[in-house]
């Protein structure tokens, strides 16, 4: 492996890892804000307990998202310095704005929310968790705008003198057609993840026979909130994903062709099928057996059941003619690794649908009131314990596969049509340096994962702590000498 491969592996490892915690942070900050709002409205102590319970779990996960995010801010300069030089003019701006608008908001108000229990008037305190959530969504917007530029560069011109991409229209960068469909897709997927997180722990406490009977209705509330969040968000994910496929086919036809392993063009009027599962040769060229849905690929790619879909071989031919001339864009092979693209696309969708199905099943099981209520239906059945464990990971892994599809499917491009990945790597860094950092980050992230999962399970299992009969967090009712309700 050379420095290029190692730099790619490091980016893949650190980014996929970082993105476990990002959607949890986005989704859970919303749900904790909703829980706290419900408590303020109803004064039902169960909502307060849920706020505190999921607030703790939120913090455990947020911490890792935060610290691994620091690496992301500097990694472009460390390992991808030629890329940074080439696109800094355009790509740097959303990153800087993300820090200034979103990171300050998130971190400052999270500090206020966390340490502010009992020290800040209640309504003001509630507004902080909402501001944290706004910060996470703003952050998503700007970083996705930067990524969308890599998928579909817009609003730029190539400066002939210095050979760099320069900004001509910042609004175009922020309203990139890819961005406009990716942002709702990713944020809704994050809500799915947050909903599934709440749902998973709620199901577990409903299933467990040891949960006090008086607490069951509380976990039922949480389960319903989580499940509804998963369901509604998944509809947005599906809708936006559908439009995304069509935009992608226009700007990155190779990615769509690779998503199906479609080598030969399918002309207008025929309708390209979509395979759910294929058994074939490793490069996906020869098919041994496949379960296919007729005309679905044509629909996914074009919106018409009989639309024409360009095959991999044809795109390859076109790109060879268009891009061979320049050092930045010349490549032997304009095809991504087809099996990775093919399977990550299916895993993304499959896991997403499975998460949705579990959420629907839980809602069905929780129906009804009275003596035979939903919470008693879940209790003690092993199936539900499994459902809880699985639903936690489904949207989480669907996110990962979605990004693996998006980024691996773009290869060999770093910026589509402008710069190949191999030309973006830092020319001055040695293989030893990149290897060192890759190994260090991988080991460190691995160790932290063990700690993080351990703490999440520990706090998740312990369940929602008790709160005083009539809790008031109004500082007016507390003395300056009282012990803090939270401190490190």
């Amino acid at each position: 492996m050379d420095a290029l491969d190692l730099a790619r592996w490091q980016f893949g490892i650190t980014t996929v890892y970082h993105f476990f915690f990002v959607p949890i942070t986005i989704g859970l900050s919303l749900l904790v804000a909703v829980m706290q709002t419900r408590w303020m409205r109803t004064r039902d102590p169960q909502w307060l307990r849920l706020t505190k319970f999921f607030g703790k779990l939120f913090m455990i996960n947020f911490a890792l998202g935060l610290v691994t995010g620091i690496v992301q801010e500097f990694q472009f300069g460390m390992n991808w310095s030629d890329y940074s030089r080439f696109v800094g003019d355009i790509f740097g701006a959303p990153l800087a704005i993300e820090a200034l608008l979103a990171f300050f908001l998130e971190s400052t108000f999270l500090g206020l929310w966390l340490f502010g229990w009992g020290r800040i008037p209640e309504k003001l305190h509630l507004s902080f968790i909402w501001l944290v959530h706004v910060g996470t969504v703003l952050s998503a917007y700007f970083i996705l705008a930067a990524n969308s530029f890599m998928q579909n560069p817009v609003g730029y011109t190539i400066n002939e003198t210095n050979g760099r991409a320069e900004l001509t229209d910042f609004l175009a960068v922020l309203t990139n057609p890819v961005q406009l469909v990716t942002f709702p897709h990713v944020v809704a997927a994050a809500y799915m993840t947050g909903g599934a997180f709440v749902l998973a722990f709620a199901i577990w406490h409903l299933w467990r026979t040891g949960t006090p009977a008086v607490d069951k209705p509380m976990y039922r509330k949480a389960a319903k909130l989580g499940a509804w969040t998963v369901l509604v968000a998944s509809l947005v994910v599906i809708g936006s994903g559908d439009v995304q496929g069509k935009v992608m086919t226009e700007v990155q036809p190779m990615k769509m062709a690779a998503a199906e392993g479609l080598y030969e063009d399918v002309p207008e009027g025929v309708g390209a099928p979509f395979s759910i599962i294929t058994v074939g040769t490793l490069d996906g060229r020869e098919e041994v057996w496949a379960l296919t849905v007729p005309k679905l690929l044509s629909y996914l790619a074009t919106g018409s059941l009989e639309g024409a879909v360009e095959g991999i071989d044809h795109v390859q031919e076109r790109y060879e003619l268009t891009y061979a001339g320049s050092e930045l864009t010349a490549a032997e092979d304009y095809r991504p690794v087809v099996p990775v693209t093919y399977w990550s696309f299916r895993l993304m969708m499959g896991l997403g649908f499975a998460g949705m199905a579990i959420a629907a099943a839980v809602l069905w099981a929780l129906r009804g009131t009275g003596s035979r209520t939903g919470e008693s239906r879940l209790e003690g059945h092993r199936m539900w314990a499994w459902a809880g464990a699985l639903v936690l990971f489904m949207p989480l892994l669907a996110n990962s596969f979605g990004w693996i599809f998006t980024e691996m499917g773009r290869q060999p491009w770093l910026v589509m049509g402008l710069m190949t990945t191999q030309t973006g790597v830092s020319p001055g860094t040695t293989t030893g340096e990149v290897l060192t950092s890759m190994v260090v980050f991988t080991l460190l992230y691995g160790a932290l994962a063990v700690v993080e999962v351990g703490l999440t399970l520990r706090y998740g299992r312990a369940g929602a702590e008790q709160v005083p009969e009539d809790p008031s967090f109004d500082p007016a009712h507390r003395s300056d000498d009282d012990a803090f309700l939270f401190t490190y």
Partner: protein
């Protein structure tokens, strides 16, 4: 003023913001084992003192760290070549800093999550190392940036790792480390009460004398080779501010003492940036190969847009961050530290302790 000059100033402001703010929470983190020891009279346990210290930086440290992220992002946007050369060139020190910031953040957030001495000791170690390493290495990095490093005609750093650890740079590292320790000790003196407050002030005074000696020598060496009249004045003011701060600490005026170190770090950083201008990364091989505000900058378009964004949002950020400091302005005493343990944090140790009492 040229847009490139405005952005040079803005980047300087971001680094100054980072050092004056996170400087004290690095200092507090690194001083945990020193100021957080059990007292001789046993009135307050070391654990309570450590929690007073961590509670004092708790609501702020994360917001302080965003100044670094914003400095990084803004450098990327305004001076892509500076960003690319600096971070690909200073590769291993930056890696160390990133690792330090990761273990530190985790140490701070996870420390209270398990009630066990061993767990806390580990997390404390992470906080201490994670605070001391960046405090040292940023001084090393900035001394190298200002004094110049081997950069070739392609804007690539070609000096290797050991070249960065030259004596002057290491002195610079000791300066930032001791300054941040002083800054942190005086912050503890300002923000806590009881014996801890007095111990912190006394320690801050002693550390401050050491920092002053090192800083004067270092500023002298740096400005003797690259300084301008303005940078000399700023460096001189930094020294005066430090002495004034220490005098205030001696007189028991903690607010003024902290203001003194705050101004010292700000002025010293400003003096470095003034000495640097109009270069952003001078080359020690050939001055013609230096990265400057001109040849490292983004297009006028990007700089213009970023200027509008910065002018609108920086004051807003300053406003709400200052408000956080106002909200949590009260001194933290031993009796503010809660004694109850979260049910999920309970361990054998908790049970033994509760059983014994």
């Amino acid at each position: 003023m040229e847009l490139t000059t405005i952005w040079f100033v803005l980047i300087a402001v971001l680094w100054i913001g980072y050092f004056v703010l996170e400087g004290f929470d690095y200092g507090v983190g690194a001083l945990l084992p020193v100021l957080g020891r059990d007292t001789a009279d046993g009135s307050v346990t070391g654990e309570t003192r450590r929690r007073q210290m961590l509670g004092a930086i708790g609501p702020f440290w994360d917001g302080n760290e965003v100044w670094l992220l914003t400095a990084g992002g803004a450098t990327f946007a305004a001076f892509p070549h500076w960003y690319a050369t600096l971070f690909s060139g200073f590769y291993l020190p930056l890696l160390l800093i990133l690792v330090a910031l990761i273990v530190r953040g985790i140490g701070l957030e996870y420390r209270g999550k398990v009630d066990s001495t061993r767990w806390r000791r580990r997390m404390d170690l992470m906080v201490v190392a994670g605070s001391a390493v960046p405090a040292l290495l940023w001084g090393v990095a900035f001394t190298n940036i200002v004094r110049g490093v081997p950069i070739d005609a392609e804007m690539e750093y070609v000096g290797g790792f050991w070249n960065l650890l030259n004596p002057v740079a290491l002195l610079g590292g000791l300066v930032t480390l001791t300054l941040f320790l002083t800054h942190g000790a005086l912050f503890v003196a300002l923000k806590t009460d009881g014996q801890l407050r007095h111990d912190a002030r006394a320690l801050g005074l002693r550390l401050g004398v050491l920092a002053a000696a090192l800083a004067v020598a270092w500023l002298w060496i740096v400005h003797a080779s690259t300084g301008t009249a303005v940078s000399w004045v700023l460096a001189g003011l930094a020294a005066v501010a430090l002495l004034a701060g220490l005098a205030a600490a001696r007189a028991g005026r903690e607010g003024w003492a902290f203001t003194g170190t705050f101004a010292t770090i700000g002025l010293a950083t400003a003096s470095l940036f003034v000495a640097l201008f109009p270069d952003v990364m001078p080359s020690s091989l050939d001055p013609a190969w230096s990265l400057t505000v001109e040849n490292a900058a983004s297009s006028q378009k990007t700089l213009g847009i970023m200027t509008v964004v910065a002018v609108v949002f920086t004051p807003i950020v300053l406003l709400y961050q200052s408000w956080t400091y106002w909200t949590f302005r009260r001194r933290i005493s031993g009796h503010h530290i809660p004694t109850e343990v979260h049910p999920a944090a309970v361990t054998e140790e908790t049970r033994r302790r509760v059983g014994a009492s």
